[in-house]
Amino acid sequence: MVFTIPKEGTTKWLEKLLEAGEVIAPVRGPCGDVIFSALRSPTQVLWDFENPLNPPKQFVLPQTDPLVKIKRNGQRHEVEPIYNDAPRTLFNVRSCDVAGIAFLTQIHEAEPADASYLHRAHNLTLISLACTTPCPAGFCVCTDSGPFLTGGYDLQLTDLGGSFLVEVGSKEGEAALAKAPDLFRQASENAVTQRKELEAAAKAHFGPETCHFGSAMRRISTGRVPDALWEKMADWCLECGGCNFVCPTCYCFSVKDLRQNGTWLRCRTWDSCQYAAFTLEASGHNPRAQRKERMKRRFFHKVSAQYYTRDGAVGCVGCGRCVKTCLGSTHMPAVVAAIRKGKWHE
């Protein structure tokens, strides 16, 4: 099912969506950054923007995520799970981020399923805005997660100039359209052709970042990346963990209890596999004490055939956020290129 909505109709549609629940969309932040934030009014939403550096992952997997409440009751402890079932819409989210959330949902659906995550994810409607202009650091074309999507979204919007083409991907998407049925018309053949042309044009305009995962995967999966190369690259990593935190597909965590008004909240907190103490054992032994070992582990998880077979995708959606946030220079495209060529900074 493919529809169109005139641009002037979007405000009314957003009003209807806001009546039904929280709508999170890219807005201009207080200091000029584009950030994902809950809309107060439809006019806040941005339509022409570069993808925010902080991904919408925080709305399904917050940096600090209370999972259960623990209360003392006499001699016993009561444990109460915390679920967030509030219906929410993620609006004008980019293709890579839709792919990222789909990846995370798949991971958290695997047994044992993660109820806390799934309550949030299953109540989230994803309305994506296809990228007619690829972002400068993006390389989603290498990870099959953009610039246009073939699935994973509830609705996919494409900017056709005077209107948006709306592709329906799920029942939740249909429900979002049903909030304002008068605004949508069946799309013409012309509109569908225009969308195809826009996709082809977008694919031809990617920036310099590319990621040839295939040959890197062969090398990393068969242990053919020399240790000396990891050692060399590791000197260019400042262990900030930024690559993990801005990555739409990273989900590693730590657990910590937070005391609050006589109860305890058991919280999941984001963690980084690049931190020295990430794998530190109680004995003091650390199986990945050196930075090169942690880096090797990260890229093995992201790029190896073993994980590709399990997850059906590399652990990267080509958003290019690690390129922007890396405090050193060991972001995904740089490391994948180094693995492929067997050389670093030469």
Binding site: P30, P62, L280
Partner: protein, 636 residues
């Protein structure tokens, strides 16, 4: 979730990010691409900045020590008690002092200074980290005068040559390390002077090895190479420098290696060169001579005062520069003006309506030993001061100790009165980074319980000492700061959410006094090793790290695994002494002796022993007041 822009409270790089809060609880941190320093990049500390305020042992009620126990009281009672006791002690002629802090805001530090100078009529005013960065700042002042030219991290990033006196930049100042890496990637020559194979020295085009404590010899060698091969910048030397001939004479006989000549050539040929130096603590004049020599090298090669070139002191804590600017120094007034500066005195006396004391006060270390009452603002002297546990013992003897802090630090536990403060996430204010950029903090959540912003508490105390304090906001305090130190005036007027800039940029009127490093800090007798107290700041004991579940893991495990600390040595030395890794050795210096476990480290040179700053207390007898000393190593 509302993103609140704020400034990173950890090191002095001064990155910016958004704090995310949900239902009045901090949730996380989001980077900002629009921030002029961090530009979307943060280090591990920045990414974990929300944790301590959320998980830390927070102070939420004013507490007064009664019969050896801290008991909750009302704000009025606590403040009246503090004012009453201090007035009694002042009337009895006993010395009182105030410790400001490198992790408090400018507004808080300013009011702490006002309370000490105008309220208590004393210059016993300092902050703990000043005892570490003081020698460096003094060294720079000797060469550059009162207001050294400043550069930014972006200048470092676009340098063609970088000379780095290496502590461990990647760990201490990741954002600065990032700027160095970016420059190296673009083809800059990085020259490091280091005694270990650090991450940055491995990236260097030219890693110059140095005996710890004698880095000055290498800098003198570079200076000598510049003069010997006629590489000095003629204009700079003629127009801006004094003492060139004396310098030439002092450097006669300095050893010049081929590497030094190469480094000198790279420095001179570069249009833009930057010099990075961490503070060097320790006793005696040579401890700050490395910074004088480095500033001299920058001056004679024409890189001091030139746009995009210059020297950047690598200060550890976020607001060291702000604390100095607010005059939290025993012999400086706000604006870092000398006590005797007539104009500054008159301005302050007019502003505060009180005569100011004219004799310099005691520094932090001496204050702990001799004052009867001490007000400590967001500082934990035993964790910061080189004297460590000795400082703690001295604090225990202070007759009346008042602590203002957001966290239950070891110092707060010893206090007679504890006044709970809002953390960085719960207060407005400004902090000044090492570039001199004055940046804002914004309120993201309410402080816990009855805790109040520091500026409010200090204003209440000032009011009890008959000082005018009708501030309705931190911004009004900042406006007064602008009157006290004209440099801060533009910041008060700035609309920018991140804050304004107050850097001393290049000018044509610089005068530089050239000085070589000359005396090494340590001389070795036959068979002696050199023992170095490594690093001059222990993040593991800083409350913002210690109370953060993610950031504290490394430090906690180190302390658990090595309850008696350790000293690091190379395998060759361990074999020569006949000690197995993990087994103790006996170290003897002119100051005393101690026994401590060993750890073997591959990148250390024979003859060098390192003790981490965190374990300095285990070797307090051996080090005394030195950061580098000659020792004899034997089997225990």
């Amino acid at each position: 979730m509302v993103p609140v822009p704020t400034t990173c409270p950890f090191c002095a790089c001064g990155c910016g990010f958004y704090l995310l809060a949900n239902q009045e609880r901090l949730v996380g941190v989001a980077p900002s691409e629009a921030h002029p320093v961090s530009m979307g990049r943060l280090c591990a500390r920045g990414w974990g900045a929300h944790e301590a305020a959320l998980w830390g042992s927070r102070l939420s009620q004013p507490l007064v020590n009664r019969n050896g126990k801290l008991e909750p009281v009302s704000w009025a009672e606590a403040l009246d008690h503090v004012a009453g006791r201090i007035k009694e002690l002042i009337e009895a002629g006993k010395p009182v002092g105030v410790l400001g802090s490198a992790r408090a805001t400018n507004e808080e530090n300013y009011l702490a200074g006002k309370l000490a100078r105008a309220g208590f009529h004393t210059n016993h005013l300092d902050f703990s980290y000043h005892s570490i960065c003081g020698p460096l700042l003094k060294g720079l002042e000797e060469v550059c005068g009162e207001c050294p030219p400043s550069i930014s991290l972006n200048d470092v990033e676009s340098s063609q040559t970088i000379l780095l006196i290496e502590g461990d930049l990647a760990k201490t100042h990741p954002r600065a390390a990032s700027a160095v890496m970016a420059a190296v990637e673009k083809g800059a020559h990085l020259i490091t002077i280091a005694h270990t194979a650090t991450q940055m020295s491995r990236l260097a085009s030219l890693p110059l090895p140095a005996v710890p404590g004698n880095e000055g010899e290498v800098i003198d060698g570079l200076l000598a190479a510049v003069l010997h091969f006629g590489l000095e910048d003629q204009t700079s030397v003629k127009v801006h420098c004094e003492g060139f001939h004396t310098l030439r004479r002092d450097l006669e006989g300095a050893k010049i290696t081929a590497e030094m000549r190469q480094a000198a050539e790279w420095i001179t040929r570069a249009t833009r060169a930057t010099f990075l130096i961490p503070p060097v603590s320790g006793e005696g004049p040579p401890s700050h001579r490395e910074s004088t020599a480095l500033a001299t090298l920058a001056a004679v090669t024409g890189h001091l005062g030139r746009p995009g070139s210059g020297l950047l002191p690598l200060l550890a804590r976020c607001n060291v520069r702000g604390a100095c600017d607010m005059g939290i120094v025993p012999d400086r007034l706000p604006g870092y003006r000398p006590l005797a500066d007539k104009e500054a005195r008159q301005r302050l006396e007019g502003l505060w309506g009180k005569d100011l004391p004219s004799t310099p006060g005691l520094d932090a270390e001496s204050m702990l030993q001799s004052v009867s009452a001490l007000i400590v603002l967001a500082d934990d002297p035993p964790a910061v001061l080189p004297s460590g546990q000795r400082a703690k013992a001295a604090l225990g003897k202070v007759e009346f100790l008042v602590v203002l802090d957001a966290f239950l630090t070891p110092t707060a536990q010893m206090a007679h009165v504890v006044l709970p403060m809002a953390s960085f996430a719960e207060t407005d204010g400004t902090i000044t980074n090492m570039e001199g950029r004055v940046q804002r903090l914004h309120v993201a959540t309410d402080p816990p319980g009855e805790a109040r912003p520091g500026w409010q508490i200090l204003a209440e105390l000032c009011a009890r000492f008959e000082l005018c304090t009708a501030y309705r906001s931190a911004l009004e305090v900042l406006n007064e700061v602008g009157c006290a130190t004209p440099k801060y005036r533009p910041v008060c007027q700035g609309e920018d959410k991140w804050g304004g800039i107050g850097m001393a940029r290049a000018s044509n009127g610089w005068k530089f006094r050239l000085l070589a490093a000359e005396a090494p800090r340590v001389t070795l007798a036959d068979g002696q090793h050199v023992l170095v107290r490594d690093g001059d700041f222990d993040w593991g004991r800083d409350p913002l790290v210690a109370f953060s579940p993610t950031l504290s893991r490394d430090f906690q495990s180190e302390r658990k695994l090595f309850p008696s600390g350790y000293v690091e040595m190379c395998k060759q030395d361990a074999d020569a002494v006949g000690v197995h890794p993990g087994r103790p050795v006996k170290l003897t210096s002119a100051q005393g002796e101690a026994v401590i476990p060993t750890r073997v480290r591959a990148d250390l040179k024979p003859g060098v022993l390192l003790v981490p700053y965190a374990f300095r207390d285990h070797l307090a007898n051996v080090l005394g007041t030195h950061s580098v000393t000659a020792v004899k190593v034997e089997q225990a």
